[in-house]
């Protein structure tokens, strides 16, 4: 053990040196959100510019800091001036920033600055300098006062956007692998399980099963071989928490897996990552390699008698493989189809052996619980839902990004305070939680605290954490139709209710959106939804009707308008709307005439124009370009 620990101590020192260097440090967010927004050319521009100018700076990669709507994010620490974060940086903006740095100045336009960095796991606090009062950067808001961060509690995302995900040293320097070393040295598997039970941590994949109980069941099942599996087959549209964690802090997940493996007695682990996440696969692969070199994965971990090998399995693109029994079949090389539980995987899983399957976020929480203590953890959140939860805020919302809040935080705080509400002066109408398996929660229930049980009671589910915000331009019938189309495609087809029922629901909803459905169809839709939700084989089928059922529960008026009056109040369903021009508003500018692709609009200058509804294809282009908002669907 001596050699390994000494090696880790050296690595840790190296990590501290790169996290808090004596020179200027420029960190660029290169998780998928950053890369998609163009972070790589920005990084190249910084590298090239710094070399040309001969500026002694350290340029490193980091993961997602959560503010995806401001990507590419650049985080600059100037030793005697402070740490500043800049958003939406383009390569063109780089030379001016470098020039400022060369002049010993603070580049203009920072979004916020940090006053300090607190390492969550070991509690050490590093203070950053405060910019001089004469400097305009002094007025840059502090990170903890920015509404986006103010209500957040970054526990799972503790390292995201701060450390270099490709560098194990920086993870170690932030207290990483301390939990594993302590567990191997001082704790029995049962003590570990007891700690997780005391924390009352519930699975973050969606169903909210108690993690400690799952581990205990697996621990008490006798077998010659056990497995630990990390479920990173995140497939809900709009959800990307797991991707960001794997891309920004893969070692946290790996450490959680190793602790779990030790607790249940597993010697082999698999990380099942969907193949649509190439960067997550790459970074997790690197993390495993680095951990192996540091004797943290493989035989005799840290010189102890505990051995565990970890490998990556790439998912092949089936949504249903996120369901645990289907996932196991997929790892075995068989067709990814669920089968009925019991037996539960913790008793008979991979190749019939006891297997614990935990979600990425659950596993990334484990090192925190073991380092900070179960009691400390259980004080966060609510009594029945302890800890924090990461959500991806997407849809019609101002601040699209990754946020982490204590469980029990009201939806309103997440959507309005952190998320900044719906964009374009529109009003929020509903939020869809839990992806295709979840439901839509209407605006009047936004005071609900986000907990497993309250969300289920409201007809939705916690799910993995995707939150799709909808505004008044979203049609709830169309939303239900979208999710049924998704699930029709993703149903494995093994059981009748899901295979046929979901198809039928999609057909009925298609009819409603097209204006061919009757009120009888609405009744039929609800009936089929009830059969699918109770009689299906696996979780996918049983939760599939949620978007329909919650839509019918909270937005029945909208459904009735579609089938009875053939109207779509949100102006989304093409067959149910006609475009009209307000005579009082139209100034006769002619912009719409030029834009209309089918020449359906006519009129003379400075006189109100008219739309020939028989030619109109309802593309909505005129509505978008009208400078006085005179055109609208009705």
């Amino acid at each position: 053990m001596g050699f390994a620990i000494q090696h880790l101590t050296e690595l840790k020192k190296k990590g501290s040196a790169t996290l808090f260097p004596d020179t200027i440090k420029i960190m660029i967010g290169v998780a998928s959100c950053g890369v998609a927004a163009g972070a790589l050319p920005v990084m190249a521009a910084f590298r090239q510019g710094a070399t040309e100018k001969g500026l002694p700076v350290m340029i490193t990669k980091t993961g997602c800091a959560g503010m995806c709507y401001q990507e590419p994010l650049v985080d600059i620490t100037i030793p005697d001036k402070g740490r500043f974060v800049y958003g939406r940086i383009t390569p063109a903006a780089v030379p001016a920033m470098l020039a400022a740095l060369q002049n010993n100045d603070i580049p203009d336009g920072a979004l916020f600055r940090y006053s300090r960095h607190e390492c969550l796991l070991d509690g050490t606090i590093t203070h950053y300098p405060v910019p001089d009062k004469k400097n305009s950067a002094h007025t840059v808001p502090l990170m903890q006062t920015v509404p986006f961060y103010k209500g957040q509690y970054r526990l799972v995302l503790r390292n995201c956007g701060f450390i270099d995900p490709e560098n194990i040293s920086e993870y170690l320097a932030q207290g990483g692998y301390h939990a594993l070393a302590t567990v191997l040295n001082k704790k029995t598997p049962l003590q570990v399980i007891r700690a997780i039970e005391q924390s009352r941590l519930r699975g973050r994949g969606g169903a909210g099963f108690l993690t400690g109980l799952k581990w205990r069941i697996c621990y008490t099942t006798d077998a010659d071989q056990k497995y630990i599996v990390c479920n990173a087959d995140e497939g809900d549209p709009g959800a990307y928490m797991d991707r960001s964690i794997l891309e920004s802090d893969p070692h946290a997940v790996l450490e959680g897996m190793l602790v779990a493996a030790y607790a249940i007695g597993a010697t082999k682990g698999y990380v099942y990552i969907r193949d649509e996440y190439p960067l997550a696969i790459e970074r997790m692969g690197q993390a495993i390699e680095q951990a192996r070199d540091a004797q943290l994965v493989g035989d005799h971990i840290l010189g102890s008698s505990f051995s565990c090998s970890i490998s990556i399995v790439r998912g092949a693109g089936a949504f249903v493989c996120g369901e645990e029994t289907a996932l196991l079949k997929s790892i075995e090389g068989l067709c990814g189809e669920p089968h009925q539980r019991p037996p539960y995987p913790a008793v008979a899983g991979l190749w019939g052996k006891p297997t614990v399957i935990n979600n990425v976020e659950t596993l990334a929480t484990i090192p925190v619980i073991l380092t900070k203590g179960a009691r400390w953890f259980s004080t966060i959140g609510t009594k029945k839902s302890t800890g924090t939860k990461v959500f991806s805020l997407v849809g019609k919302i101002n601040h699209i990004g990754l946020v982490e809040v204590p469980l029990g935080t009201p939806l309103r705080d997440i959507i309005y305070t952190i998320g900044g509400g719906a964009g374009l002066d529109r009003t929020c109408k509903a939020v869809q939680t839990g992806g295709p398996s979840g439901g839509c929660i209407p605006e009047h229930l936004f005071n609900l605290p986000v907990e497993y049980d309250t969300l289920a009671h409201a007809g939705s589910i916690m799910g993995s954490g995707g939150m799709i915000v909808m505004d008044n331009t979203t049609c709830m019938v169309d939303v239900a139709r979208y999710f049924m189309t998704f699930l029709e495609h993703e149903s494995c087809g093994k059981c009748t209710p899901c295979r046929v029922g979901v198809r039928r629901m999609r057909e009925l909803l298609d009819g409603m959106c097209k204006g061919t459905a009757s009120e009888q169809d609405l009744y039929l839709l609800e009936q089929i939804a009830r059969v699918v939700s109770t009689a299906s084989l696996c979780g996918l089928g049983r939760t599939a009707p949620n978007p329909v059922l919650s839509g019918l529960r909270y937005f029945k008026d909208e459904f009735i308008l579609h089938v009875r009056d053939k109207k779509c109040p949100a102006g989304v369903c093409n067959n149910l709307i006609t475009y009209g021009i307000s005579l009082s508003r139209c100034t006769g500018c002619g912009t719409c005439i030029k834009t209309c692709p089918v020449k359906a609009i006519t009129g003379t200058k400075k006189k109100p124009h008219t739309i020939d509804t028989s030619r109109c294809i309802k593309c909505g282009a005129c509505e978008e370009v009208c400078p006085v908002a005179a055109i609208a669907p009705c």
């Binding site: 089936a318 249903v320 067709c335 089968h339 009925q340 019991p342 029709e488 495609h489 993703e490 149903s491 494995c492 087809g493 093994k494 059981c495 009748t496 209710p497 295979r499 046929v500 029922g501 979901v502 198809r503 039928r504 057909e507 169809d521 039929l524 009936q527 089929i528 009830r530 059969v531 109770t534 009689a535 299906s536 084989l537």
Partner: protein, 253 residues
């Protein structure tokens, strides 16, 4: 041994018995479709669902896959179960309204055919009996499911001629809806298949798997009596003498 209550009747069964088998043992009928006593349980059609009450929790499970457990209370015909079964059968009947097996079940469960939805072009209800029979009884694995979701269908690899099929017809025997089209065409006869091809006997054709097998002729009477490939497979599997199937069954007697 395990003792449980099914519809308030106490029954004791060996460990590993499914709820369906336990119910059958005391004469309780549960409708099934994908179930076949010679095949491994599948749990796909969901017609055999029952309510299992264990302590305070009630769950709906397929009785063909759920193993009996001590002390549980099983309800095979509660209002919920009856309504759900009707719902499932309504979905299936709309798929393949012409199937006699489904029509019979519909009559038993009181389900009426609704023409709201268009029926399938074929008769396959994706119960997987053919696939399991081919794998588990014949030991060949000539067919499997293709696609997923609503498109899911039993098929030969890539919908091409199955190279492993031996033309034994076990799949046809277990199919509940008659979805597999097998033709035994006698010598001298010509038959037109659904794809328009003309086939001349003596031959066995299974259209679904795109296979045709010439018949072997009896060395005594000269009559064609079984697909040559099938006889070769059986000879090999059962370690029979090479000339075992040279004569037909009638001539051997």
């Amino acid at each position: 041994m395990i003792t449980l209550q099914i519809d308030n009747v106490s029954v004791t069964v060996p460990e590993g018995t499914t709820l369906l088998e336990a119910a059958q043992r005391i004469g309780i009928w549960i409708p099934t479709l994908c179930h076949h006593e010679a095949l491994t349980p599948y749990g796909g059609c969901r017609l055999c669902i029952v309510e299992v009450q264990e302590g305070a929790t009630t769950r709906i499970v397929s009785s063909c896959t759920y193993r009996a457990q001590n002390g549980v209370h099983v309800s095979t015909c509660s209002d919920t179960i009856v309504a759900l079964r009707k719902g499932i059968l309504t979905l299936l009947l709309a798929e393949v309204p012409q199937s006699p097996v489904l029509q019979e079940l519909a009559e038993l469960l009181g389900v009426e055919h609704s023409s709201t939805f268009a029926p399938r072009n074929d008769l396959c209800i994706a119960c997987g009996r053919c696939i399991r029979a081919c794998r588990e009884i014949v030991g060949v694995q000539a067919i499997d499911f293709a696609f997923r979701g609503y498109k899911r269908v039993a098929a030969s690899p890539f919908f091409e001629r199955s190279e492993d099929c031996i033309g034994c017809g076990t799949c046809v025997a277990v199919c509940p809806t008659g979805a597999i089209r097998l033709h035994d065409i006698p010598a001298g006869a010509r038959v037109e298949l659904s794809d328009g091809r003309q086939v001349e006997g003596p031959v066995r054709v299974i259209e679904n798997w795109k296979v045709s097998f010439p018949f072997k002729r009896c060395s005594k009477c000269g009559e064609p009596f079984a697909p040559q490939v099938q006889l070769e497979y059986f000879t090999k599997q059962a370690h029979l003498p090479a000339d075992f199937f040279d004569v037909c069954r009638e001539c051997r007697q």
